[in-house]
């Protein structure tokens, strides 16, 4: 056979945002009836998983069986979230309505949408309001009355954004078929920092984003920077631009307006598809026929949901987690076998020692948790001090510029805003990288400790580690797999093991990198400039420098507050996940010990052998992605 030089020559090079196949003609994807099919691979995997659950249950391991079932349920319930983002009144809500084929969401010329609203499939139309923590606040029939809740009119006069969100269920079949959630967001205006943050958070948790651009005022500078900082910053895997209100542009100019938008996107290297919102806007030529109409967007979303890469990620997550449960069960059984093999007195002693060791392990947990909490505090403190340094050096740099700039007034008007944004974005990137490193380091530490504890327990039981083969000790530790982050594969593991499915898929699709900072760069840069305008030139420079010194730390603080809480959140998440697994393991141990009591050693040994064989067979059958 001829030797192939590069097996990956077909793989996209460079950054791995999934290359999107684009829709072209009507019905570009294969025509299809009925619900979206689960791929053959996935169906096979699910079958294997449910076999595994049944087997474990038959072996009396209810806990692990249940865990596998809930993992399966999670992949079944996995939804594809498409966030619609853009500035006020760009037609986000209108576009969603046109996708749904009904006026589900309120839309008007004034700033309208007040709450992040998740629109998903439900048999009966319903509006549910949610508290900031995601708990249900109330539910209402979905009628025009209900719009009051969603609309901004209802806003408290302090002008602060309302917390919480809303969920809408509509009987639109398409949503159910593809498992799609459409996320309507409030307009992200430049000055609405609070709201901007909640939109940014929503973006981080979304699978795709549709950016609405008003054809009559396309891609202002602030809009461009919004896309660059927030949308691209969130590394959302799938993106598209929807051009709204093209019908308001005079007919002969419509093509040119589209050309302009496309060219602008091109120049910024935004290589994602463009569609024209609406029911098919009349155009002077058929140049943009391929992308005209909200139906095109629908096809695009369908294609996104079926992207093989995404499919592989979800399957991979399931396979990895189920294998992990099986590993755990396997190591427990192997334990049991060792004990069953020991003679009378010795056996009793081993059991006693194992119980003692379990108690100790639990104590050890308290210490680990304290240490992790301490590490979290240390990381936060370092984060704060980095910000402080950054604020100082940024202030210095900006003041230096003011000194050299002939007209301070013009600097404030033309440069300040722009410079602050640029600085913030560089800072944001640096912090991202730093945070990834720090969190990964502490995860690795926790993992190492946990692994050692498991080994201790194993050695208590057998007198030496040597009697257990390496794979077994490794397996137990692996259940908390957080080791060796240098290997990118392991990194994907961290994503898949320590996080929920949605987050795991999002992380893995951006290459296993933790998108953390996405700092708010809105700032109040527009606000203070006016007060400075009137000052006389000679006093201006001084004034501007003072302004910079006063404002920069505040801007940085505000812009980063979200990142700071995310950093802390990641520690909490790691700890909670590790603890959950630990508890599971302990519970399984206890179950096992108590179930051994009323079985004879020979019987136990035979049964255990049988169980081990079965589990090994199932494990082999589960494909590792």
């Amino acid at each position: 056979m001829a030797k192939i030089k590069n097996k990956d020559f077909l793989k996209p090079s460079g950054q791995c945002s999934p290359q999107e196949p684009r829709s072209t003609e009507k019905g570009s994807s294969a025509p299809r009836k009925g619900p979206a099919p689960v791929s053959a691979e996935r169906a096979e995997l699910l079958r294997k998983c449910s076999e595994a659950a049944t087997a474990l249950r038959e072996l009396g391991m209810k806990g692990p069986a249940h865990r596998i079932e809930s993992l399966m349920a999670k992949t079944r319930d996995e939804r594809f979230t498409v966030a619609f983002v853009g500035e006020f009144s760009r037609g986000k809500s209108t576009l969603i309505n046109s996708l749904l084929g009904a006026d589900v969401l309120p839309a008007s010329a004034l700033p309208t949408t007040a709450l992040i609203t998740r629109v998903g499939y439900g048999r009966t139309p319903l509006l549910i309001t949610l508290n900031p923590d995601g708990s249900r606040e109330g539910s209402y029939p979905l009628d025009k009355e209900a719009w009051k809740i969603l609309k901004i009119d209802n806003f408290n006069s302090s002008g602060d954004s309302r917390e919480g969100s809303a969920a809408i269920k509509v009987p639109v079949k398409w949503l159910g078929q593809y498992g799609v959630i459409l996320l309507d967001t409030p307009g992200a205006g430049d000055l609405q920092e609070g709201r901007m943050k909640s939109v940014a958070r929503a973006l981080l948790a979304s699978d795709a984003a549709v950016i609405t651009v008003d054809a009559t005022q396309p891609l202002s500078l602030s809009e461009q920077s919004f896309v660059q900082q927030k949308v691209l910053g969130a590394r959302t895997p799938f993106l598209a631009v929807a051009v709204t209100k093209l019908d308001l542009v005079p007919l002969p100019e419509r093509d040119r307006q589209m050309d302009y938008i496309v060219k602008l996107m091109r120049s910024r290297k935004w290589n994602f598809p463009v569609v024209i919102a609406g029911a098919g806007v009349q155009m002077p030529s058929d140049k943009y026929n391929n992308v005209n109409g909200s139906a095109r967007l629908r096809v695009l979303i369908e294609e996104w949901t079926e992207n093989p890469r995404r499919e592989a990620l979800v399957s991979g997550w399931l396979a990895a987690n189920v294998t992990q449960v099986l590993d755990m069960a396997e190591s427990l059984l192997a334990d049991r076998k060792k004990i069953a093999g020991a003679k009378g007195e010795e056996q009793l002693r081993l059991r006693e020692r194992r119980l003692e060791a379990l108690a100790e392990l639990q104590k050890g947990w308290g210490e680990l948790r304290e240490e992790m909490t301490r590490r979290c505090e240390a990381a936060t403190a370092e984060f704060d001090s980095k910000l402080k340094q950054a604020a100082e050096s940024m202030t210095e740099r900006l003041q230096h510029e003011v000194d050299r700039f002939p007209e301070p007034k013009r600097w404030v008007e033309k440069e300040y805003n722009f410079r602050v944004r640029g600085e913030l974005s560089a800072l944001s990137q640096a912090l991202d990288a730093w945070a990834s490193r720090t969190v990964a380091r502490d995860q690795a530490w926790l993992n190492g400790r946990l692994q050692r504890q498991f080994r201790t327990i194993l050695s208590v039981e057998t007198g030496s580690i040597g009697q257990f083969d390496d794979s077994l000790a490794y397996t137990s530790g692996e259940s908390l797999d957080l080791e060796d982050l240098r290997q990118s594969q392991k990194r994907a593991n961290v994503a898949t093991m320590a996080l929920g499915l949605g987050a795991a898929v999002a992380l893995a699709s951006v290459g296993g990198f933790i998108p953390l900072a996405t700092m708010g760069v809105s700032g109040g840069a527009g606000l203070w400039s006016r007060s400075v305008f009137e000052k006389k030139i000679e006093r201006q420079r001084e004034e501007v420098c003072r302004l910079v010194a006063g404002e920069v730390p505040r801007i940085i603080r505000e812009a980063s507050s979200d990142s700071r809480s995310r950093l802390r959140g990641m520690y909490a998440e790691i700890l909670a996940e590790a603890m959950r697994r630990e508890q599971e393991w302990l519970a399984m141990q206890r179950d096992m010990i108590s179930s051994e009591r009323d079985t004879s050693a020979d019987e136990l040994s035979a049964k255990t052998d049988e169980a081990l064989r079965r589990i090994a067979a199932i494990k082999r059958a589960i494909p590792q992605v």
Binding site: I4, K5, L10, A30
Partner: protein, 184 residues
Amino acid sequence: MVMEAVDEAKKSTLRRQHIPMEYVPGLPMLSVRGGELCMILPWLRYRATGKVDGTLVFPVRYITVCTLPERMLVEFRDLAYDPHFAGLDFGRACGTFRHEAVKDLDRKAYMSLRENALTLMGRLASAQISDSTWGDTDEKALRESLSRLIEPSLSGIYRHLEPDFYNKYLSVEKYLTDDGQNKE
């Protein structure tokens, strides 16, 4: 190399025995399987209606896969038995020929575009297993001709059959090109 492989597939016993007569080869795609360079050849049928640009295009029904350059057959599949396409009605047309991107081509120009694409693809294949050259201009030319040739109505199927090749050569830049215009 690709053109020859397609020709050979057309004359193969497999085709005579297992693929109904009216099926013709669609656009081949390159793929890497088990570390080997392979060519996937989809088979589909058209039905003339007598109207200009009204010839019906039916979904790809069969695929054959062979290694390159040996042309050893490694797979034959009837997609009608593939669970992924369970919902697809193979008896129903999914599009018409000529599609938008090739409307301006007459038969001769169309055939020569296709021939050109297959030649290029052959050169791409050669470059993977020998020291022959393959440059950015070749890459661009192949992408341009393939993405123009592909039936939009079949893109979903092609995409599923070989996502990497599809993404790289068949799907690209339909919306955005250098001058910000759609290809005509």
